[in-house]
């Protein structure tokens, strides 16, 4: 359907029934912009450019400061390393193939932990939505489990689950409780009148869950997703500290034990990039989906 078609229809209805908003705003765009509007756009663009430039400058300033302070021994380069030393280490690690492998190990473990905790979190939240009694019973335990510093369980998970699964276990433990709570709140936040509407049409509880509550909670689910990706990464790194022979967490702990701060810093830089990229991917998905829910 061409762009002009629905708008034309809107105008027709407008004249027959009155009481329509939004049709006027579009038609104004067709006119040539006034000089004041052009100036406004220029100002907005300039401001946007200034923000982008400032971000790059801030990063550069940080790197330069780090380099200079370490080189002039204001801070001990043994303890902090410095960018021009980290960079060759980064290249070395890459060339030997290790870095890509470690990054992949961390990424894969994060993805697994994060998927498990999303699925389990949504399933448990759905159960709590289904049974208010169950929710009231387990609510205080959930609050305590969520507030608990899960890192305390790292050694126990290692004993219980072994080297590989303790890492997934940690990722899930850190992110699952908050997922349950956020998703449950999202489910509860669905307009009760939408549920009433489905009821008047004869919907069963299962249909209300699948046709109203779940699709209506997509924005919440995506917000939980965005939050989870970071939490799962924390769990994986902590898990790798304890038990792994691969992954960025292993690189960090190993590098620090043999006092090779270059390796530690290189791993942290990669970790920052990895979390940034994962966050951006989820944020992009969120933006594309949530538009429909406005």
């Amino acid at each position: 359907m061409s762009k002009a078609d629905p708008r034309e229809q809107i105008m027709i209805i407008h004249t027959t029934t009155a009481g329509l908003q939004g049709a006027g705003a579009q038609s104004q765009e067709a006119q040539a912009p006034s000089p004041a509007y052009a100036a406004y756009l220029r100002r907005e663009n300039r401001r946007q450019n200034l923000i982008s430039t400032s971000r790059v400058l801030l990063l550069l300033a940080f790197l330069v400061l780090w380099e200079v302070l370490a080189r002039t021994h204001v801070v001990n380069p043994m303890l902090t390393s410095y960018p021009s030393a980290v960079w060759p280490t980064l290249l070395d690690l890459l060339r030997e193939g290790d870095l890509a492998w470690h990054t992949w190990a961390t990424f894969r473990a994060t993805l697994i932990g994060f998927c498990v905790s999303m699925v389990a979190g949504v399933a448990i939240a759905a159960m709590l939505w289904w049974s208010d009694f169950l929710y009231k019973v387990v609510d205080p335990f959930m609050v305590i489990a969520n507030a608990m510093p899960k890192i305390a369980f790292v050694p126990i998970f290692y004993i219980w689950l072994g080297a590989e699964y303790s890492i997934y276990g940690m990722a899930v433990a850190i992110s699952v409780f908050i997922t349950i709570m956020v998703v449950y709140e999202g489910f509860r936040g669905i307009d009760p009148n939408k549920i009433k509407l489905a009821l008047t049409l004869g919907a069963t509880r299962r249909q209300i869950l699948s046709m109203v509550v779940l699709p209506g909670s997509v924005p919440t689910l995506l917000a939980a997703l965005k939050m989870n990706i970071g939490l799962a990464l924390v769990g994986v790194i902590v898990g790798e500290f304890q038990s792994s022979s691969e992954g960025l967490g292993f690189l960090i702990i190993n590098g620090s034990q043999v006092f090779k701060l270059n390796i530690v810093m290189a791993a942290i830089v990669v970790l920052a990039l990895l979390s940034g990229v994962m966050y951006l991917v989820v944020a992009r998905i969120e933006k594309a989906t949530v538009r429909r829910y406005s």
């Binding site: 629905p6 009481g19 939004g22 009148n193 939408k194 008047t200 004869g202 699709p215």
Partner: protein, 275 residues
């Protein structure tokens, strides 16, 4: 379809399934703080194809009565029968239109209209055709694949009407369906809704706090008393000024009968503005 035709179908007994019998219905509900008698001994027969409105002050239980007819609330005493069969749960014979459209923003207009058919696991091909037909009749034919956010309030309520009628219920319950619209849109929509509902031969119960809406849209107005809600009086809306046919809601507002009914109902409602 006007009054004569409706009388004819009723006489032939074709649409006997649309008769609503409300038999001595009472409702009490409990909270930890108190017990409340919301409705008390309500009996009312609504003929097939008849349009009846319930008016009364807020809190008099008119929406509650509608929920009982719809089967989402169970009366403490008495029962409601539609087409002779007692209503115990939400039924496919009954369509319910709420105060707002509550369109699902993640569904297109057409998919919104098909919600009921999907819930009731109806033949989707047939329902799709019916939904498209109804949306076209409501002037929404060009918006089938758009999302609700693109629509104005009046257009959204038209989609809600199509959604209610897609499952082809015998009885349609309207719970202040225009209260969220601005006043010009209300007048325009009222005409369209009445037109579509009469053409479909539905029995209609309208809950409203707008006396003018009750007079202009329905055949009979039921005034409920303050809580506990009882039937205070019944008024048949007749318009001799337009002999042989029922005026449209918009026309009705300009007729002399309208003011008379308005004054009568105003007195019946016994409105006191507090403060």
């Amino acid at each position: 379809m006007r009054q004569e035709t409706r009388a004819a179908t009723a006489g032939a007994g074709v649409n006997a399934a649309n008769r609503i019998e409300i038999d001595n219905v009472s409702l009490r509900y409990f909270t930890r703080q108190a017990e409340t008698q919301a409705l008390s001994g309500i009996s009312l027969d609504i003929e097939p194809g008849e349009f009846v409105s319930l008016i009364g002050q807020s809190g008099c239980g008119k929406s509650t009565l509608l929920s009982i007819i719809a089967g989402i609330l169970e009366p403490s005493e008495g029962c409601v029968r539609v087409g002779g069969k007692p209503v115990t749960a939400p039924s496919q014979r009954i369509g319910y239109m709420l105060q707002q459209d509550y369109l699902f923003e993640w569904r297109t207009i057409l998919d919104n209209a098909l919600l009921g058919a999907q819930i009731q696991r109806r033949d989707m091909k047939e329902s799709r055709e019916r939904a498209i037909h109804l949306l076209e009749k409501c002037g929404m034919g060009n918006f089938l694949h758009q999302y609700p956010r693109a629509l104005s309030g009046g257009m959204r309520q038209r989609v809600a009407l199509a959604r209610t009628l897609t499952t082809n219920p015998d009885v349609v319950l309207l719970d202040e369906p225009f209260s969220a619209l601005d006043s010009q849109t209300r007048l325009a929509i009222a005409d369209e809704v009445v037109d579509v509902l009469r053409a479909e031969g539905k029995t209609v119960v309208l809950v409203t706090h707008d006396i003018g809406e009750a007079i202009s849209m329905t055949d009979r107005v039921v005034v409920l008393s303050r809580r506990p809600g009882r039937i205070k009086s019944l008024h048949r809306m007749e318009f001799p000024s337009t002999p042989g046919r029922r005026p449209t809601p918009f026309e009705a507002r300009a007729l002399p009968e309208f003011n008379n009914y308005f004054n009568t109902l105003w007195d019946e409602l016994d409105v006191h503005v507090e403060g």
